[in-house]
């Protein structure tokens, strides 16, 4: 601590203070991050180093040796990125502008039952492993969803992530099983960039099953966490991590989520920060999509069915416009109302005289005659022996 003071007001000094904070606080400690926002990292650290009753924070912070932390990280190929660095993703600053998250995406019964979430704020810095500069995340899209996904969810997530990757849009997701891993995998197989945001240190692996994938991401793209190397995941850290996924990206696509899915939490953050929130609908009978449907019903999310629709929503105005899908146009669509009425009465097998057609279509003979002439010119009807029948009928 005394060493830090003697360094003076350099950026390096700020960085070391941020390392101490990052290593000492729990992720999403909103009190500390607000102090950093208002006072700067060194003053915030100084204030938090004052011991308080009921809190071991000061002691924890005092025990951190920032230089050693940085050195250890560097040995493992991990860098610490802080605000002011060229690589700092400016999206993370938005976390200082929003309040802590309420349970917007939960059903009323559940929000009463669960504890209020007490975290938020911009992290003091983020730990990054991998060659990809985080500035490339400026156009990225998060693809998140349930760990207990269905084959439908997996295939849809795969198709969307693939489309994003082929359009050179980086994909961001967590490191969990289910939709997370599928999103990374599909982007990688399409040759695109993808980044995992973890709820543990970037040198740790959770879950074990994704070891090979996470190692590949760390070697080729990037793995990101606000927690220092070596720290493990806890349930609350997953919730804190979700806000980073939302903040790092331009929009979040929710593919499959049950009513209590953690992915809904990510979507809540994205919504608060005015990022695009998109939901892929599932069968109404599927509980794995019930959370998505809840989100769509509430109105915060836009329904998407395809990667192109995601691009349209996150792109700049006029970019990636999607043609509205519609059924094939038929020749009869272009006829006037009178022509259609007349055409309905023209038989295909026999022929019918003008006055009969007129009386059946409840039109004046003159109008009927005019309509028939136009229909003949357009090739819909033929004049045969003074009567009319459908063209091509014999």
């Amino acid at each position: 601590m005394s060493g830090l003071r003697s360094v003076g007001g350099t950026t390096e000094d700020d960085r070391l203070a941020r390392v101490v904070l990052s290593a000492g606080i729990e992720p999403g400690d909103i009190t500390t991050s607000r102090l950093v926002r208002d006072l700067g990292p060194r003053a915030a650290l100084a204030q938090q180093l004052v011991p308080k009753p009921d809190s071991g924070l000061a002691e924890r912070l005092a025990g951190v040796d920032p230089a050693r932390e940085l050195e250890r990280a560097e040995q493992r190929g991990i860098r610490f990125v802080v605000p002011g660095d060229a690589e700092w993703p400016s999206g993370l600053d938005d976390l200082d502008e929003v309040d802590q998250l309420d349970h917007r995406c939960r059903t009323p019964g559940e929000s009463r039952a669960s504890e209020p979430v007490t975290f938020g704020g911009t992290p003091p810095g983020i730990w990054v492993r991998g060659p990809m500069p985080l500035t490339e995340l400026a156009t990225s899209v998060a693809v998140v969803g349930s760990r207990a996904a269905s084959v439908y969810g997996v295939e849809t997530a795969r198709a969307i992530a693939r489309h994003l990757a082929l359009s050179r849009v980086p994909v961001v997701s967590g490191g969990a099983l289910g939709i997370d891993v599928v999103a990374h995998d599909a982007a990688l197989r399409a040759g695109g960039a993808t980044v995992a945001v973890l709820a543990c240190g970037v040198d740790r692996v959770y879950p074990e099953k994704n070891r090979a994938l996470l190692a590949h991401l760390a070697a080729e793209y990037a793995v990101v966490s606000e927690q220092p190397p070596g720290s493990g995941p806890t349930q609350l850290r997953f919730l804190a991590r979700n806000r980073l996924i939302a903040a790092l990206t331009r929009g979040t696509v929710l593919v499959e989520a049950a009513l209590r899915s953690g992915a809904l939490n990510t979507v809540g953050w994205a919504e608060q920060m005015s990022r695009a929130v998109m939901g892929v609908p599932g069968p109404v009978t599927s509980y794995t999509s019930a959370g998505v449907h809840q989100c769509l019903r509430r109105g915060g999310a836009t329904l998407v069915t395809h990667g192109s629709e995601v691009l349209e929503l996150v792109g700049g105005s006029g970019e990636h416009l999607v043609e509205v899908p519609r059924g094939p146009e038929r020749p009869r669509d272009r006829l006037s109302a009178v022509e259609r009425r007349v055409l309905e009465q023209v038989p295909s097998a026999a022929t019918l005289a003008v006055d009969a057609i007129a009386s059946q279509s409840l039109l004046h003979v003159r109008d009927t005659m005019g309509a028939l002439s136009r229909l003949e010119a357009k090739g819909f009807v033929d004049r045969v022996d003074g009567g009319w029948r459908l063209a091509g009928a014999g």
Binding site: A149, R162, S286, P325
Partner: protein, 534 residues
């Protein structure tokens, strides 16, 4: 003694019966009569046997009355394999021929067709005949030389593969066995499958890209013997994956192997010297195939059809909606009872036919229909509806697993992904799941979950109450029929056996419901599918 008895065998379906061929040679009106419900091919034996004896070893009793009686007389008899027994019995009954006496024929069975020169030609059905001979206490058998290996598969049987009538006579008398020229190959040509079997020798499930849920469905089908339907646009991989199903089936057990080999022996499709068939067979009749070729029958001898040749293997009906309605209708019995009965006049034959039935169909007549846009489909809605109607009915109702095969984007390989599972990996799991079933059903008549009768499941192997509750709710909501209920229960057991779960719970029942349902909105849990694939 003017009469002698030699034993041969008759086949009814794949079951063999011992036939006493009794010959009386005595003075009287000169002539030869053959009695005992013999058909045309057998009555011609008179001339073949006379020629063979005259040309190979002695003299036909031309001045005597020869009566050949085949008993039991009520069993219809046909085929050419009685020649040898008749010839030997004639020689033994003829008192002018002193070398061969009637008592030398005791304990022997004789099988083979004679040529004019006395050569012994191969006949179909040697294996089941020899099995029957052994079952009736006969311990020594003469068969045509090329079929000695086939006959030798039967334990406890002493097999003599011989080339001529003279050799048989010499062996019986204990004399030196004369030389004879080798006999020609069997005249029956195999019922060919419509794709060469060799083409499939090198295929592996590891060749198939993606389709994780279909792979899982195929694994469950193979493990529990569940009929499977694959529906999807053309080119989506239905046939490729179906062709690989035999590669994930474990080797046949000795008992299964004997059954399958016997059936192939009856059909005459057993290659020379191939011994026991140890790999599960694969049959894929074309959709234009006749009832006789698929189910069995034909003119003359009642031959087993492809449903029986595929016994303990895979029967694949590609383009199922194009199959002839009568063939489809007749598939009901094998799918329900695991056997097929071909009735013709007073003759009827029953062959086992418990194969894994795999059906495949395009999603519309042109095969282009898929997804939101309808793909490249050019069919009218009416055409499509008409086509889909064919995808319902009694056979499809007996399908346990309905799987939609969707076209997949190509999945380039990535360094971090584990290598795709090979057939051997899956086969090991299928074998394990089958062992669990074999242990559970050790005192029962069936081996696999798909064959367990519904009431027995309810009584002896019920699902957990939560699982049963889930299934009952489907029944109450009208999404499941009674028959469907039983099928879901069987499937839930197989899902549990595949996962190593001792008793199917809610999760296994949910997977079973998703597998059984043709509703595309019922998607399988991805982790179940991935567990099978990692």
């Amino acid at each position: 003694m003017a009469f002698a008895t030699a034993r041969s065998l008759a086949l009814k379906g794949a079951d063999g019966h011992v036939i006493d061929v009794q010959v009386d040679v005595s003075p009287g009106v000169v002539g030869t009569t053959l009695v005992g419900r013999v058909d045309k091919s057998l009555s011609e034996a008179r001339d073949r046997v006379r020629m063979a004896i005259n040309n190979d070893c002695g003299r036909w009793p031309a001045t005597k009355r020869v009566t050949v009686l085949l008993s039991p007389a009520d069993l219809p008899k046909g085929g050419t394999h009685y020649d040898l027994a008749i010839a030997v019995a004639v020689l033994a009954a003829d008192t002018s021929c002193k070398d061969l006496t009637a008592d030398l024929l005791d304990g022997w069975a004789f099988v083979g067709e004679l040529s004019v020169s006395g050569g012994l030609r191969p006949v179909p059905g040697v294996l089941p005949m020899v099995i029957a001979a052994a079952a009736h206490g006969l311990t020594r058998v003469f068969v045509p030389e090329p079929q000695a290996a086939e006959a030798a598969l039967v334990p406890g049987m002493t097999v003599f593969g011989v080339r001529s009538l003279a050799q048989v006579s010499a062996v019986l008398r204990g004399a030196e066995v004369p030389e004879a020229s080798p006999v020609v190959a069997p005249s029956a040509s195999p019922l060919a499958t419509w794709r060469g079997e060799d083409r499939l020798a090198g295929v592996d499930l590891g060749d198939v890209d993606g389709l994780e849920d279909v792979r899982y469905a195929v694994e469950v089908a193979a493990a529990g013997g569940h009929p499977l339907m694959l529906v999807g646009p053309r080119g989506s991989g239905k046939t490729s994956i179906a062709e690989r199903i035999p590669t994930i089936l474990p080797d046949l057990t000795t008992e299964q192997s004997l059954e399958v080999t016997a059936l192939h022996s009856v059909a005459g499709t057993l290659p020379d010297g191939s011994g026991l068939l140890r790999r599960p067979p694969w049959y894929a009749p074309h959709h234009s195939a006749s009832g006789a070729s698929v189910l069995g029958g034909g003119t003359g001898r009642v031959r087993p059809g492809q449903v029986s040749l595929a016994h303990h293997g895979v029967l694949f009906l590609d383009e199922f909606p194009h199959f002839r309605a009568d063939v489809v209708e007749a598939m009901r019995q094998p799918m329900e009872c695991g056997e097929v009965t071909i009735a013709r006049g007073e003759e009827s034959a029953t062959y086992p036919a418990r194969s894994l039935v795999v059906l495949a169909a395009n999603s519309c007549p042109c095969g282009g229909f898929h997804g939101l846009s309808g793909g490249a489909c050019e069919c009218s809605p009416v055409q499509r509806q008409h086509y889909l109607r064919k995808l319902s009915g009694p056979i499809v109702d007996r399908v346990d697993i309905w799987m939609e095969v969707r076209p997949q984007a190509r999945m380039p390989d990535v360094p971090y992904a584990p290598p795709r599972e090979s057939s051997a990996d899956v086969r090991a799991r299928v074998a394990e799941a089958r062992e669990r079933q074999a242990r559970r059903y050790r005192d029962c008549d069936w081996l696999l979950n798909a064959a367990v009768p519904g009431p027995v499941i309810d009584a002896r192997w019920p699902l957990t109450p939560e699982a049963q509750g889930l299934v009952d709710r489907e029944l109450a909501d009208g999404r499941l029929t009674r028959r469907g209920l039983t099928r879901v229960q069987r499937l839930a057991w197989t899902v549990a056996d595949c996962a190593g779960v001792p008793r199917p719970g809610r999760a296994e029942a949910a997977v079973a419901l998703a597998l059984r349902s043709s509703d595309p909105s019922r998607s399988l849990p991805a982790d179940v599918v991935a567990v099978a694939a990692s």
